[in-house]
Each structure stands twice: as C-alpha cells, then as structure tokens.
Amino acid sequence: VTPPPDDPKGTSADAAGSIRDRLKSPAPSSEASASGDTSRSGVSDASFQQTDSAGLREAHGRSAQQESTHAGFEPMEVGPEPLTPREAKVAELKVAALFLLSALSVVAFCVWYVVGDHRFGTPGNPYFNPLLGLFMALALGGVGAGAVVWAKTLMVDEEAVQERHPFGSPSEERAATAEALKAGLGDSGLKRRPLLIGTLALGAGSLALLPLPFVFGMGRFQHKERELATTAWREGMRLYRNNGTPVRQGDLQIGAVESVFPDVELPQLRADSPVLLIRMRPEELQVQEGREDWSIDGHVAYSSICSHLGCPVKLYEQQTHHLLCPCHQSTFDASRGADVIFGPAARPLPQLAISVDDEGYFVAQGDFSEPIGPSYWERDSR
C-alpha cells in the first residue's frame, strides 16, 4: 500500500545531504514515500540504484544478483576511477579558475562597453564589436565550462535507474471517465432537447464566421485587378534615370543599358515600373511581329521585373544580348523580344513601346500591353 504523498517519513530521509549520503542511508523500500511521477505508479526512491561501485550497491540493499535480473545483464561499472585527493584539488582549482575568468571578463566587458570607440569612423571602431563579443563569450563560457568541468570531475558519477510509469490508464479508469462524460451530457439535458443541439451548432458555427470580416478588412481589394495589370507608364511619359534626368536619343552607346523609371513618387507605382532601356545594332534586333514601331534605331525597352518571381532582371550580356535574373537564373534574349531561353521563367519580359518626342527625349507610347512581373490566376482573364 502506497502511503499518501505528503508522508513526512520519506521526505526527511533524503531531502538533504549529498547523493552519497542519501544512498548510504536509504529509506527502506517498505516505507519509501510515493515519489514516482504519479502517485499511481508507486515509484519510490528505492527504485534508484547506484551502480558506480559494488559497495554503494550493497549499501543500497541490492546485490549484484538482484540487479542483473533484467535481461540477464551484469551491471556495468561506470565512471572513471575515483580522483586522488591531489587530482581533486587540481580539478577544484581548474573550476575555480574558470569561474574567476568569468568575473574578470564581465569587468572587462563593462569597461570596454563604456570606453571603447563604438561609432563608425573612429579609430577604435574596428575593435569595438570583436572585443565586446570576446569578453561576453569569455564571461558566459567561463561559468558554463566551469559548471561542466565541475560536474564531470568532482560530482558523483552515478548511474541511477528509475522505473517508468506505465503509459495509458487502466481500462476501468477509461471506462469511468467515459461514463462521467456521458453522465454530464445526460445532466445537461442536451440529448433530450434536439432543438438545443441544432441551434447550438448553428450559433457556435456562425461564431466561426464572425472574424472573417475583420480578416477581410486587412486588405484593400477595390482595384486589385487593375493595380496588378497596370503600371505608372502613360503615353508621352519620359524615361527618367534613377538620378532624375530624362534619357535623350543618342545618350546610350551601342551595347549600353540604362535603368529608367516614369516620373512618379509613389512606392507602389515605382515598384511596378522599372524598365531596362537597351541599345544594340538595329540589324541585331529581331523585331517581333506586331511590334514593328515599338523600338527606335536599335533602342528597345523591357520591364526589368522578372516574369518569374519579380526580381529585377539587370545582368545584360552585350555580345549575346542575354538578360539574366540573378535570383533564379531565368535568362531572356533581348534581341528576340526578351523571350525565355533558360530557367524557370515561363513568359518573356513585357516590352514597353517607346518613341522619341519633339525634343529628342525617349517617351513611352503608353502602358505595357500586358501585366508585368510574375503570373497570377486572373492574369489573362481581362
């Protein structure tokens, strides 16, 4: 019979003192307290065995014979040989030195934190962060290494055995719980009132819909399709460089490439609209059908937003006219309508129709004829 968990007998016997002390004067198993994981399992302190020496085993009241009953194995001697007093002293000094290192490093950390040059450009700056990290590492590592060395050298290297409590409850227990659940359901009267069941399901079910408007309200969908399908380019808009100057015909050498933008400030519009203006020899540019007047004198403009996942396609190879996206290596041929020649992209880069205005500046003929950037479900449904 297991004594109640708050039985003072078992607790007083082993609450204090070192492991060795506890093991040398163990509570007789008959009066050990219920100290298993659950009171049901009845695992007691007596179920701990120490196998680091035969003597301790004897002290624990268990012979080698008893312990070897499991699976017919002899108990294993574990742990290193006990330390000599001299070795123990050395180990103790080692641990103390590590703890001391910690304390010194904390001081060094604090001093360096206050006096070090931490601002960029100051002469001491390159050393500020490395030394700060080093002192912090030593401070933390000293305590950590000290504790580990201490545990491994000076603490008792025991091999304790604890019985596992059985998983799963006894079948009576399960039956009783199921019974209690059923009884509660009966007490609630729900079984006899089908109207309540139906309306409860309806009411609680509708509650699940309650958060939906809030969730839906997180996005602004009013012009979703239009925003996705259009960019900031409009008819007659000049092609501006990143520094705000417009590009004039003749500015680009043959083989040159320029990132250009419409003259807008809104981040959304700017994110959509980067264009790559490329100049090649007119005879090298294979003009696509229906795009005869989209390019001028070997100048051709493509959206630089990758048709795969929206990275900027920026790497242009002069000789081959290949455009490479650095994110996933989709490669497009700028001389043939930016058609895909390699990689995971499925569509050519959309081409921006350009012309030259009266003052000789490049202008867009209008917006792109198709959505730029990555594909999406409604892309072709307009």
């Binding site: 609450a15 100290s35 601002r119 998983f167 979703k224 994110a271 990555p374 999406y376 479900w377």
Partner: protein, 545 residues
C-alpha cells in the same frame, strides 16, 4: 551548508506551507535522465531559443517597423544623405549608433541560424533512432510544427531590416502568393495590405515576428518539454536498460550542472560568433530599391532548399479558360514543401501502418536496426541536399567556373537519380552492419588462436564481446513486463502480437510480420544470441575428451 539549511528551513518551509511543493520538488530533483551526446541537440535548440528571446527583446527597443521615407543622418558616412525607410534607418542605428547594438544584432542572427540547425539535426536524431514511435508520436508532430514555425519566424525576421536583400526576398514572397490558384491575389493583397510593396506589410511582419509566432513557438516548446518530462526520455540499449526503466543520472545536481553549464557554453559560442563573425552586413547592401539587386544573393540557409527547388523547376505554366496557373512557381515553393512537411508529420503513422508495430518503444534503435527507415531518411536527406546545394548553384558556377546552366541541369538529374540510389546503398550498408554485429554478438571477437578439434577440424577461437557492447548489440528485452517487447522480431512468439487490436486474422498478421521483418531485420538473421558454432567453453570441454 548553513545557507542550504536556511533555504530549506526558511524559504522552503514558507513556500511549502502554501503550495505543498516539497514532494514535487524532490521528485523532480530525483528524476533520472539518460545520457548520450545526441540528446544535447534538442537542448541547443531550446537554449538558442532563449537567446533569441533575450536578444530580440533588446533589438525591439530600437527598431522601427515603418516604411516611411527618411534621409539617413547617422554615423555610417557612406550612406549619409541617402533616402531610405525608417526600418532600414533604425537597423543602421542599431548597428552603428547603439552601443553593443551590432553585437546584439549579430548574436540574434547567429542564434537564429543555429536554432534552425539544432532543430533540423535534432529531428534527424529523433528520426534515425526511432524516438518518434509510440508513445511519442504527438511530440514528433510538435517538433515538426516547431520546424515549420521556426522557418516562418526566420523569414519574417529576415524581411524586417528592409535592406536590398530582404526587400528582394519580400518581393519573391509576394510573387509566390500571387501564384497560388484562385485565392492567390486575394491572400497577397490581404497580407500586404495593397499591391507590392504594400503599406502595412512591415508592421504585420513585425508583430508576427515579435509576438504571434514567438508565442506559438513558446507554447509548442512548453508542450514539447512537458511531454518529455512526463513520458521520460528514451534511451539507447545497454546493460540494465530496458523498455520499462530509465538509466542515467538524476537531475540534481550533476545533470543540472551539466545542462546549465551547457546553456552558458552555447551562449558563449554565439556571443563569440556575434563578435568575430560578421553576418548580414545590411549597410553594405543599401536600402531596398525595386530596380536593384546584386548577383549571388542568398537567403538564410534554412530557406535555401526552396530557392534551389525554384531554380531547378522548368518554366512551365498552364493557361486555360482565361486563367493562369504558374506551376513553375507553385510546385517548387508551395506544393513541394507542403508535401515534405506533410510526409514528416504523418511518418510515425505510416511506419506503424507498414510494420503493424503498435507497441510502446522507450529503447532507441540504432539506425542500422531499421534499414528501411534509415534508407528512407537518407533518401529524403539526399533529396533535400540536392535542393539546398542548387540554391547556391550560381555561387558554385562562379567559384568553379562552370556554366550556371549546367549546374541547373545537373541538379535536375541528381534530384531524380540520387535519392533512389542513396536508398538502395543505405539499406545495403545497414544490413551489412547488422551482419557484422551478429558476428560480433554471437561469435565474439576473433582472437587469432587456431585450435584443432579431435575430429581434425580447425577452428578459430573467439573471445566473447564485453558485456556492455553485447548488450547494445543484441537488445534482448524483457518479455515479462506488459509492454515494450521487440515487436515481430523473427521467431517472436505469437503472444508478442498486440491483443485486441482487431487484426488477429493470421493471414493479415503474417503479411504484416513479413513486411516488418524487411523493415527491421534481414531475413534469416536472428535478434537473439544463438550458438551455431562451438563456444570456447564447449571447445575446452571437447578438447579434454
């Protein structure tokens, strides 16, 4: 000593009077933990998570999650006068103007990388040793969820600085959302607030990164720990170790000292990395600009496999009935990880179904003990590694001066060919290791001494394997206890079959058992020591006759 007595007598009594905690505390102190180096992997994950909470909280005191445009005026001179978001500005301030801020930022990033490493390696340990088996399936599921939410947390944090690299990553995330059929554009607008770059995304990522996901992680970790505590840790086979006990050291004091010391060691290593090893130098990348990017851009390592799968995928797209399905995007970034994580989540039940093994397991398998499982794991790992390495194929191409196109083609071929090959090889290696184990366990170590039998036959004397090793190899498990038999080992008697499972039909069991044999053991090799050759003692006896 007086201090201890004071604590137990004074404070201890005060607490115990109110909570009655003595019994619980003593039971906890006496709890036995088995020891093995591989059990520390989960500890590293836990410790790095604590470090992430500490360092992340400090960073949050200085970070501003806003896309509002400001002009840089901090101490990092190369960027003075450049227009940038407040988020990027505050990240630069943490790096250059907050004392110790850079150390904290780098500690946070390194800890995040190691957190994911520790989780992945810990999951591998649990998988290859069969620690996920009954009764620990739920903890396996929680572990996989921790992996998934860890990934999400990492991605959200990676996007916060709003530098060129993270902005590009965010645009890729936006594009992947758009690619999802039917609901994609709705989901993308909902989460980003409006068309990319959106107005709200940074605030939402921030609250997800510092509150929502950490809370989920914390809850899952707590559950994970509670289950480990309640179910007790698994252990490897060895002398005196059975399915029904735990052999190791008690929590207090040695185990606690080791584990506590280990926390500080992990923290120390991460502090050293944070001080000496530069990571994610966002000031070199500059603020995000949708028209700019740099070559060789790489995500954090744990996203690398998705980057790789995206690169290897051919450019296929379905366009029909006026709708577009970009399968070149959704297969590698949505379908593939979905399948991978689902397979991981359900694996314990798949194995149970396949082997018919519904018994409790507290003793761990060595990987060779379950050749099919180990082969499946190695196969999955090789698949993952091909994807992961392909995520850096542009770097490989430029370092080794090979065509980037060829690295992609090689990746596609390897992705299909390598996993089956690895499966076959791993299984054969496991079986070969089992054979050599059987030799050792049953015949002992070759001694080099040749003895002639009276019949004229020559035999080599063998020395029996020392007990601890033999115990680890043969895994004889007690059958008198109610649970934990080695199930369906060859030659196992019928009573080993779980009763009341509804599958007593003998034909069914026979099929199950033969499948199970293939899963765990090669045919014709027994788990129990047999004496097919004369032992030294018998030889001694026969020599005297």
């Amino acid at each position: 000593m007086t201090l201890v007595s004071k604590a137990t007598d004074g404070t201890g009594r005060w607490v115990d009077d109110r909570l009655g905690s003595s019994n619980f505390v003593r039971r906890s102190l006496n709890k036995v933990f088995p020891d093995h180096w591989s059990f520390m992997l989960g500890e590293i994950a836990l410790y790095t998570f604590i470090i992430l909470l500490l360092s992340g909280t400090y960073l949050a005191f200085f970070y501003t999650p806003s896309l509002g445009e400001v002009v840089y005026d901090g101490s990092y001179t190369p960027l003075v006068g450049v227009a940038m978001s407040e988020a990027y500005h505050s990240t630069l301030d943490i790096s250059f103007d907050v004392r110790g801020g850079l150390l904290m930022r780098q500690i946070h990033h390194w800890a995040a990388l190691l957190f994911m490493v520790a989780i992945v390696v810990h999951i591998m340990r649990v998988f290859f040793t069969g620690a996920f088996r009954k009764p620990r399936e739920l903890n396996w599921v929680i572990g996989v969820l921790l992996l998934i939410f860890g990934l999400l947390e990492g991605v959200a944090g990676y996007s916060l600085p709003d530098d060129l690299l993270s902005g590009t990553g965010l645009r890729i995330i936006w594009s992947i959302m758009l690619a999802v059929p039917v609901v994609g554009t709705w989901a993308a607008f909902l989460i980003f607030g409006a068309e990319y770059p959106g107005t709200d995304i940074l605030d939402r990522l921030y609250i997800a990164h510092v509150f929502v996901v950490p809370l989920i992680l914390l809850g899952l970790i707590t559950l994970h720990m509670m289950m480990i505590w309640y179910q007790k840790h698994t252990q490897f086979a060895g002398p005196g170790r059975t399915e029904t006990n735990v052999v190791g050291s008690r929590l207090y004091p040695a185990y606690a000292a080791k584990a506590g010391g280990f926390f500080f060691l992990v923290f120390g290593v991460i502090a050293l990395l944070g001080g000496l090893a530069q990571i994610n130098p966002v000031w070199l990348y500059g603020p995000y600009n949708p028209s700019q990017v740099f070559a060789g851009a790489q995500p954090d390592w744990y996203i690398g496999f998705l980057d790789g799968s995206t690169r290897l995928m051919p450019g296929w797209e379905i366009s029909a009935l006026g709708y577009t399905v970009p399968i070149n995007v959704i297969i590698p970034t949505v379908v593939l990880p979905g399948l991978m994580f689902t397979a991981m989540l359900v694996y314990p039940w798949l194995e149970q179904r396949f082997t018919g093994d519904r018994e409790y397991h507290n003793l761990l398998d060595r990987p060779r003990d379950a050749p099919v499982r180990t082969a499946i794991g190695a196969m999955a790992l090789s698949f993952y590694m091909v994807l992961w390495i392909s995520g850096g194929n542009d770097v490989i191409a430029s370092v080794f001066r090979v065509s980037v196109n060829n690295t992609t083609y090689a990746g596609r071929v390897l992705l299909l060919l390598l996993p089956p090959l690895v499966y076959v090889i791993t299984k054969r290696v496991c079986l070969a290791l089992q054979h050599s184990d059987d030799e050792l366990a049953h015949h002992g170590i070759e001694s080099g001494t040749i003895r002639r039998l009276p019949s004229g036959e020559f035999v080599e004397e063998t020395v029996p394997l020392p007990m601890p090793y033999r115990a680890a190899l043969t895994r004889v498990e007690p059958s008198e206890v109610g649970h934990g038999q080695k199930v369906l080992a060859s030659g196992a008697p019928d009573q080993d079959v779980p009763h009341g499972s509804g599958h007593e039909d003998s034909q069914y069991l026979e099929t199950r058992r033969s499948r199970s044999k293939g899963f765990f053991r090669p045919k014709g090799v027994s788990t129990t020591p047999t004496r097919t050759e004369p032992s030294p003692a018998e030889l001694e006896g026969s020599g005297q006759q």
